[in-house]
């Protein structure tokens, strides 16, 4: 039997610098101020996520970037529960729920099936974008084995971890990516353990890139629209497995004002607590994004209630971790950030005055 060729999609990248630069009207400026932004939204309104949900913003951007020829899997997690109640989902593309531990195996099965069906002529059309969006509980904890296996076998699919740094679905329990000092129902701060969570978070994306060197691996946050959408497209265009670690704030778990979701996505990068980078499997090199502004970690921590119990020595430890991150990224650590490694330089976080972003009110 003659085998048919598997035709793959190629998604063009967005011009990141073109964001506010002049684009003549005749190339569609009238319709798309964000350059080449697709009109379609495969993730639609009516989902029951909380107001200001970070993962919902990330889902929308990822699916907007992926387009209609896409198949999505979603392991158990808050984005499965909130999106797929009452037998209906907000997706206009095929979507399937999997068990929390089997996001990787299910998705590799889908990818293998599409490939073989196309080869055998049983499916006509281009190879679809195959995506799985797993929470941090699934991708970094319970289901890390199956995702690692899928990456290792190099199935042509994009594995996304939307990281809201807790098990939000079951009511905010600690997960391996919960940061040091984060308060959850499993790590409550008290007299014995005043900092809440004692362990530093798992470096999931580095595990994936170091452990599966043929994969395209990147990290991003909801603070940077075009970066997230471009990394999605790069991951989908990559022939083989790709892994994207995406920082997505959870308003209920982190206790912040709902309008600040996107601002947090920027501040976590500017404070050095979530390095944004891209791993090029061909060169085996990391390319780090150095934000235009470097902030003290308090600017980020003090926006969230989950850190409100932190003592000066805990904040100083966070600053040390952030400065190590800057060093890893090859960025200069300004003197003022070095000085903040000293606990004397801090107050109890609930008394901390910090540079708030422009406040336009509390939402929802």
């Amino acid at each position: 039997m003659t085998q048919k060729e598997v035709v793959r999609q190629h998604l063009p990248l967005f011009e990141e610098q073109g964001r506010s630069a002049s684009v003549p009207d005749d190339v569609g400026r009238n319709l798309h101020y964000l350059p080449d932004m697709p009109e379609e939204d495969p993730y639609q309104a009516g989902h029951r996520t909380c107001a200001g949900c970070g993962p919902a913003i990330q889902y929308r951007w990822v699916l907007k970037a992926a387009g209609q020829n896409t198949v999505v899997a979603g392991p158990t997690g808050c984005m499965y529960v909130a999106n797929a109640t009452y037998m209906s989902t907000p997706y206009t593309v095929p979507w399937a729920h999997t068990q929390i531990a089997s996001g990787g195996s299910f998705t590799s099965g889908m990818a293998a099936a599409y490939e073989s069906m196309i080869r055998k002529g049983k499916y006509e059309g281009e190879y679809p974008n195959i995506l799985v969006m797993a929470g941090d509980g699934s991708a970094a904890d319970i289901g890390i084995g199956s995702i690692s296996g899928a990456l290792y076998r190099n199935h042509d699919a994009l594995f996304i971890c939307y990281d809201n740094e807790c098990y939000a679905n079951t009511g905010i329990q600690t997960s391996p990516t919960t940061p040091y000092g984060g308060s959850t129902t499993f790590t409550p701060p008290g007299k014995v353990i005043p900092e809440g969570k004692k362990l530093p978070p798992k470096n999931l994306a580095k595990m994936m890139s170091e452990g599966h060197p043929n994969c395209y691996v990147a990290t991003t946050t909801v603070g940077y629209t075009l970066d997230l959408m471009n990394k999605t497209r790069k991951g989908l265009n990559h022939r083989g497995a790709a892994f994207l670690h995406c920082y997505t704030p959870c308003q209920k778990g982190w206790v912040y004002q709902t309008p600040m979701t996107v601002e947090l996505g920027r501040r976590v990068v500017e404070s050095g607590l979530f390095p944004v980078w891209e791993y090029d499997p061909a060169e085996r090199k990391y390319e780090y994004f150095i934000p235009p502004e470097q902030r003290p970690v308090v600017d980020y921590l003090a926006m969230q209630g989950r850190f409100g119990h932190m003592h000066p020595e805990h904040v100083a430890l966070m600053q040390v971790a952030a400065n190590r991150n800057w060093e890893d990224m090859g960025a200069d650590v300004p003197k003022r950030l070095r000085e903040l490694e000293d606990p004397e330089a801090h107050k109890h976080l609930k008394e901390e005055e910090y540079s708030l972003p422009v406040n336009r009110g509390i939402g929802a």
Partner: protein
């Protein structure tokens, strides 16, 4: 569950699979309107950008910068022309209060608004046909007199013509332009540009400029009253005299008179050493013109200290670069002469002092007197106007006394320098615009009313994360050694098209939606709908908006605001909160009925198909 794109073989189809409706891009998930989560609703409310607010003519600066950014130069030009008939003039000579107010000055440097305006003005002058001409209404038979063809007079004539009036401008001098021709040197405003702008207004039709017609001698106060209305914009074109000994010697001239002679291309003679007395912009213009007309050494003598000079900073810098000397905190005590001709002056130290009432008076120190030699002394210490033909009760302190709407009496309005004292060109333009609209109201017997208060957008309320720092593009200058050779060489040069676009692109669009799509893309609930990319053309899909306000927070310009949901009463788009969590009433119950109906229909259909296939009387064993 959506089954779009997958193929489920018939034998595997279950009654419930795929029966719930898939969401559509237009309607979302019809069964789950999440709008009842909402306490606050985002609302688009455009504010006034500080630049627009600072401009006396109220130019919509943010709007035309946005047009320039998108290379829509004609739209940009037409936007300016709504408020200001001569952008090529103001683009060169305006002291740009807009740039002083620009919020970008707190971010990095203010935007070069004046240079972009000049770019648009010159773009407009190069058009073969003036596009405004087509938009003019026919004249309505009423005839208005405008006294003075300076910026105030021309602006009022232009705006009155656009409102349908016939206008006659009475100009005392031989050429129209007023202070633009007689007070602003050619190296600042080239004659051909001024002529083109005046011609542009004259060519609109319905505007007649009568030169060599001096009001007071050729036309009387009573003649003015015969018109349907009149606007007085005479300006102040008589230089004030220096009250010292020797002020009538040959070689002592008024700075303004000197600049006017040069502006009207009359032959003027300047000696080698010139002293200019005064500390304002006229002094600077006089001194710099003298340099261009042959003087070798020009000194400005001013009562003001080095930091108190009333010369705009850029002009001061340019004057210093051209070699103008400054003797600040000094005064001219006497002018010396031989045979009736100036030979020198006696200067002394002096300063301005404020008395208790805030009145500023010069204090001279006679002990410090010293002599200098010079060939000319030019006086630029202020201007007045002859007003003996106007009834006395309308004059106060040498200026015309108007009410808050610029009305002198009945149908006679006044504006510009004759009301304000020496002020900016753009103030006169603004007065002309205001007079035109007020005359229109008076002639239509409508009441005059003050402008509605506006909300000006402060820098603190912008979301500056979206504005990367970018330096201002300075307009190129002709090098000093070259530009002082001739008074026809323009000092400040124009932006290129690329520079104009890049500079307009720095605009932060304070408080006004510029369609940046940020709200559209950050919405987690796909509830900011975008139809066309025009200002304010987004709408909020209230059926789904959960009121998280991420869009409000992320709006770079601050035109989005939150409004409490209870302020809205239109039932078509309100889903009240109290029903959201109640299972047995309200929206949950309403939602559950159609879901149950869908299931029942699907089961009935399945049963019917099964009956057809098997002949059975009942589908699933149950009696229905």
């Amino acid at each position: 569950m959506s089954v779009k794109g997958t193929k489920i073989p018939p034998k595997l189809r279950l009654p419930l699979a795929g029966v719930t409706p898939a969401p559509t891009e237009e309607a979302g998930q019809v069964l789950f309107p999440t709008g009842n989560f909402r306490f606050f609703r985002p609302v688009y409310k455009d504010k006034t950008p500080p630049c627009n607010h600072a401009c006396p003519t109220g130019e919509k600066i943010q709007k035309y910068l946005d047009f320039v950014k998108h290379e829509r130069f004609l739209d940009g030009y037409l936007t300016i022309m709504e408020d200001n008939p001569m952008p090529s003039v103001t683009g060169r000579v305006c002291y740009h209060p807009c740039e002083g107010a620009c919020n970008r000055k707190d971010h990095d440097e203010p935007i070069g608004i004046r240079n972009v305006e000049r770019f648009l003005g010159d773009f407009g002058l190069e058009l073969a046909d003036e596009p405004i001409k087509e938009t003019l209404p026919a004249t309505n038979g009423k005839h208005i007199a405008v006294v003075g063809s300076g910026p105030g007079g021309l602006a009022s004539a232009y705006h009155l013509r656009r409102l349908g009036y016939r206008v006659t401008i009475l100009e005392a001098l031989s050429k129209p332009g007023g202070m633009l021709r007689g007070g602003i040197p050619h190296w600042h405003l080239p004659e051909n540009v001024l002529n083109a702008e005046v011609t542009k207004i004259e060519d609109l039709g319905g505007i007649e400029i009568k030169c060599n017609t001096r009001v007071g001698t050729d036309v009387s106060w009573q003649d003015l009253k015969d018109y349907d209305a009149a606007f007085l914009a005479l300006g102040q074109d008589v230089g004030r005299k220096l009250p010292v000994e020797g002020n009538d010697l040959r070689g002592v001239t008024g700075g303004l008179e000197f600049v006017r002679e040069a502006g009207f291309n009359k032959p003027v003679k300047v000696g080698k050493k010139v002293i200019v007395v005064g500390g304002g912009n006229t002094a600077s213009d006089t001194a710099r013109s003298a340099l261009r007309l042959g003087a070798e050494e020009v000194t400005i003598v001013s009562l003001e200290g080095p930091d108190e000079l009333l010369i705009v900073p850029e002009d001061l810098e340019q004057a210093k670069a051209e070699g103008v000397e400054f003797k600040t905190n000094s005064a001219c005590a006497r002018i010396l002469g031989e045979d009736g001709v100036v030979t020198g002056a006696v200067l002394c130290e002096a300063h301005l002092s404020k008395d208790e009432e805030g009145k500023v008076t010069p204090r001279m120190n006679p002990d410090t007197e010293y002599e200098v030699t010079c060939d000319n002394v030019m006086i630029a210490i202020g201007q007045v106007q002859h007003l003996d033909w106007i009834p006395d009760h309308l004059i106060e302190g040498g200026l015309l006394k108007t009410d808050e709407y610029g009305r002198l009496e009945d149908n006679i309005f006044a504006g510009g320098d004759i009301v304000r004292g020496p002020a900016m060109v753009v103030d006169a333009l603004g007065d002309g615009k205001r007079a035109a609209s007020n005359i229109d109201k008076v002639l239509k017997t409508a009441d005059l009313a003050p402008d509605a208060p506006v909300e000006v957008m402060p820098y603190e309320r912008l979301n500056t994360s979206y504005f990367p720092h970018a330096p201002r593009i300075e307009a190129p200058l002709t090098p000093p050694e070259e530009r002082i050779r001739d008074q026809e060489i323009e000092v400040t040069l124009a932006y290129t098209q690329e520079q104009a676009i890049a500079e307009a692109d720095r605009c932060m669009s304070c408080g006004v939606c510029n369609g940046c799509d940020n709200c559209y893309i950050v919405c987690p609930d796909v509830s900011v709908m975008r139809d066309t990319r025009e200002n304010g053309a987004y709408s909020i899909r209230t059926k789904y908006c959960k009121g998280c306000l991420v869009c409000v927070q992320e709006c770079p310009t601050g035109c989005l605001e939150k409004v409490p949901e209870l302020d809205f009463e239109d039932e078509s788009d309100v889903t009240r909160m109290e029903t959201a969590f109640s299972v047995y009433d309200g929206s949950h119950a309403e939602q559950s009925i159609p879901i149950a109906k869908l299931q029942e229909d699907a089961i009935a259909e399945y049963d019917a198909a099964r009956r057809r296939r098997t002949g059975a009387t009942s589908g699933n064993g149950k009696r229905r």
